[in-house]
Amino acid sequence: MSLLRDKYAIVGVGNTEYGKLPGRSSYSLNIEAIKNALDDAGLSVKDVDGVLCKYPSSNFENLYSAKIAQQLGIYPKLIATIDQAGASNISLITYAAMAIEAGMCEVVVCSYGDNPLTRTKSHYSKPRGEQGPFGLFGTPASYAMITQRHMYEYGTTSEQLGAIAVACRKHASLNPNAFFQKPMTIEDHQNSRMLADPLRLFDCCPITDGGAAVIVTSAERAKSLRRKPVYISGFGQSHISKEVPYRKNLHESGAKRSAEQAYKMAGLSPQDVDVAQIYDCYTITALMTLEEYGFCKKGEGGAFVENGRIEIGGELPVNTAGGLLSETGMPGMQLIVEGVRQLRGECGERQVNDANVCIVSNQGGIMQTHSTLLLRGEL
C-alpha cells in the first residue's frame, strides 16, 4: 500500500464571492478564503505553520506566499509559491502532504486568489510564447487547434462540446455563488459567437475575481477537528511541458499518466469514482480529461458527455458547482473545494447521493501541465 494513501486530509475549505470584486487586492482574496477555511476547520491562524500559494495568474510576483504569511501575521516553517499555471492548486496540496510527512510542518494552508476581471485581463490577450509575429494571441486559438484535431481524428462535434457547457450551467443554476446561473441549452451554445474556430464563446470559461483555500493536516490530527475529514487518497502529476505548436500530437494531454499515479496510490479505479470535478477552462479540456481518466475510451469523449451522463443524476456527475465554465473561471482551487463539500454531503440541491469518492483534475497552460487528486469521505 502506498505510503501516503489516506494519511493526510483536507480539514477545512473556504472561498470568497466570485465575480467582479472591485476594490479587492489578490492578497485580501487569499486572506478571506484562508480565514473562511480555518473557521470551517475550527483552527486559528496561529495553528498554521505552512503557506503554499499559486501565484496570481494575472500578476506574477516574487515572494507571494511570504506576503500572504505577513498578512496572516504568522512565522511559518514552510512557504512556497509554485508555477504549474492551472495545475498548481492540486500540486500545492500534494506538496503540503509531502512536507508534513517529512516533518517540516503540521498545518498547511493552500490558497489562490486573483482579481483579473477588475485589474487587468492583459495576461489573457498577450502573444502566446514566441508566436506574436504570426498573430497567435491569448489562449482560445491554441485550445481551438487541439479541438480541431480531436474533431478530425475522432469525429467529435461542437454539439457534444456544448453538452459539457450545458451540464456545468445546469449545476451552476443550483449554486448561489456561481458567476453564471441562468440555464443554457445546446441551441444557446450553438448560437454563441465563434471565438476561435471551432470553439464558441460558451466553450470558454469567464475571467473572474475571487479566491479559495483549503487546509491540509494529518488524518490523525483531523480526528480532533470540527469537520469530517476528507482524505487525500491519491495524487499524481504529469507535464507534457511543450507548447502547442511544438507538440507532435495534440490528441493526448498529460492527464492519463497523472491519473494513473493517483489511482494506483489510492488503490481505486475509474469505476469507484462517484463524482468528478474536471478542469474545464474550455469544453475540450474536460472532454479529453474524461477520456484520459478512463471514464471512456480515447476518442469517445464526445459520445460520453451526451444525454445527461455527466449531469447530477447521471452516471458520472461532473463539475457539480458549475466548474470553470459557470461557477468561476478561477484556475482550479474551486474544484477542490466543491469536491470536499460533496464528500461532506453539504451541497444541498446539487448534492450527489452517497458521494464517497471524488476525482479532481487541474491543468495549466495549454495542457502543458496536469495534476490529479483523489479524495475519499469514508475509508
Binding site: 514566441e130 498573430g135 494571441f137 482560445p140 487547434m145 495534440l250
Partner: protein, 135 residues
Amino acid sequence: MSHELIQSAVNEDNKEFWEYISKGEFRMQQCSSCSSFRFPCSWICPECGDSSFIWEKISGYGEVYTWSVIHKDYHPAFEKKAPYNVAIVALKEGVHFLSNVEVSIDQMEIGMRVKVEICDCPDGSKVPLFIPVGG
C-alpha cells in the same frame, strides 16, 4: 508593427533563426550527432541530448496539422486582418511550425499541402508564411 512583434519574440536562443529569416532563409538547428531537426531553438537536441548543431536549410514543404481562426484585433500589426487563420504546419523534416497560410478561412483544412514563403511585411520586416502547393 510586425517588426515590434518579431522583436518581442526574439531572444538569445532564437535570434539566429530570425536573422536567417531576415535574409530570406528558412533554417533550423540540426543535431550534428543524430541529424534530427529541432524547433524551438535549444542548446541541446531533444532527441539525443547532444549539444552540437548546425543551422541547416529546411525544405519548407509540409502539411497543415491543425488550424484555427483569430477573430479579434489583438495588436496593431494585425489590425483589420481579423478573421485570419493560424496553422501548425508539420514540416517534412519532422518539425512542427506555427504560422499563417495565405488562403481564406473557408479554404483551410487539415492535411492541406503547403510550402514556406518568406514574406515582406509593410514595415519591411520578414516573416515565414505558407502558401498551398498543388497535387
